[in-house]
Symmetry: C2
């Protein structure tokens, strides 16, 4: 360095060894403390990754181009960065961290991008399958507290794909509006029931850079067959969850890691035509008994 | 889980504790081994960051929205993800990892987004400042090998902003084409020289989400005043570097961490009008002596 001029040096220059401290030292003194905490950790782990990977300039540029392509794929109705978070297990990790429930309460799993609020409120037993496709299914159960006491007036908000593997909102004008969605209310015994069709596996949208990445990683884009639920009641911690069919070939390899042991239900195949007829079905049909257990808000706060 | 059906389970289900292994176990057996190595490290460090930060769902969504905004800001002529990499010190880290040179060779620093190949080839002494703005400057020196021997026929490719803080390509039609860019060739004594104007600090583009982040972090967007160089010669490892002025107020806080001690030059202010006149300048002018040292390709392979 020139002797002619010795600049004041409040901040250190960059060096490979001290890179994390050099970058984090630049943050101002008067910023949001949570932002400081988050960005300190982001820089630390980001630099640790770069130091382990030792990317070439070309590999770094490939990462820049990948992230740019993910961004360019995002629109008002397509969120490719959420897909990326999903397939890298980050969405499930964030969900797990935020839903460490007391033992016995129904476990959470990811919300997914296809939830629509304000679905129709239905009376008990309503068939939400409006396109008549797929194998008929009846789901019956209770909403309970962690002591096993019934919760009356709980809301059971349910949604799933049709038998072609698409949500209604992915096929506007093709499927009936609100196909395979509805909100049910538990009775004084905490009971709910509804009719629908057995869920099937389906691929997450894989025509973008995340689908390309999955392919390059030797992974498929399929989600294990499931039904989505949000179950809520006054004074209780709401549960965002799925139930999974036990016979799906993708159960152990859900593309977004949503499966938990405790969320796999028994799907009983019933062949009695008289029973089926009382439900308005042709035999065979599927019968599922499933209880949800909600933690009191005081138990999770 | 249902007793009725025990699915084969090749892959484990997701759990917070084992999240990294669960995600990485999904990669296929027959994929690009470097991609496997990179993504294994990405998932490991990404999950470590999430576990340390413990983001709420809202914070996770804020991160998704930030990355989406960065992607949407990218165009053919604006690369916001490179800016993000720059301000988080990642670009300098990648540059450092890829340019661990033998002691004595000129150090690298980042290329930046404003390099344009195929700039005009000029004879020694050419003034590359075509808009006449700023304080006149002459730069003189040698290109040497690590033994101090001159390298004849080396190319010295130089570019810088004008005195308003913009590169020519940022002000097409405002600045003359190829303003403050040129390629010089060393003579048989390894010497080069050119005339220009003293560089000044300038902000990186800060009207996007990265500029917003810098503001939220209490950081400014300014780069310390510098001149860019790519110096290359047959058989030698090319150097992508800057020289910095020692008197810039942002020297110790370059927004992209490009400054290294060894790249700060002496800028001598000369007031002799006779000397200035021989260079075609009005006094005062700035005189910079600067040698570049290239490592033999065998020294860095």
């Amino acid at each position: 360095m020139s002797d002619q001029f010795k600049p004041r040096k409040k901040y250190p220059y960059f060096a490979e060894e001290t890179s994390v401290d050099v970058v984090n030292a630049r943050m101002g003194g008067d910023i949001n403390p949570r932002l400081r905490e988050v960005m300190t950790a982001v820089v630390k782990h980001l630099h640790a990754a770069v130091k382990e990977i030792e990317p070439t300039h070309e590999e770094w540029l490939a990462a820049i181009k990948f992230l740019t392509a993910v961004g360019h794929k995002c629109t008002d109705w397509r969120q490719e960065f959420i897909l990326l978070s999903d397939v890298l297990g980050v969405s499930m990790l964030v969900d797990s961290i935020n839903h460490r429930r007391p033992s016995g309460a129904t476990e959470n799993t990811i919300l997914g991008p296809f939830y629509v609020p304000e679905a129709p409120r239905y009376p008990p037993g309503q068939n939400i399958c409006l396109d008549g496709k797929g194998e008929p299914m009846v789901v019956r159960g209770h909403v309970l507290d962690t002591n096993g006491a019934p919760i009356a007036g709980a809301l059971v908000d349910v949604w799933q794909t049709n038998d072609d593997g698409f949500y209604d909102v992915q096929q506007k004008g093709v499927q009936p509006d609100w196909n395979l969605r509805g909100v049910f209310t538990t009775d004084e015994k905490g009971e709910y029931w509804f009719r629908s069709s057995k869920p099937r596996y389906y691929p997450i949208p894989d025509d973008g850079p995340v689908g390309q990445l999955l392919g390059d990683l030797g992974r498929h884009p399929n989600r294990a067959a499931h039904i989505h639920f949000i179950v809520s009641a006054e004074g209780y911690d709401p549960v965002i969850t799925h139930i999974f069919t036990p016979d799906c070939e993708y159960l152990d390899q859900d593309a977004v890691f949503g499966v938990k042991d405790s969320l796999i239900a028994a799907f009983d195949k019933r062949t009695d035509q008289a029973e089926a007829g009382r439900l308005g079905f042709q035999a065979p049909y599927w019968s599922v008994d499933w209880d949800f257990v909600l933690a009191n808000k005081k138990q999770v706060s």
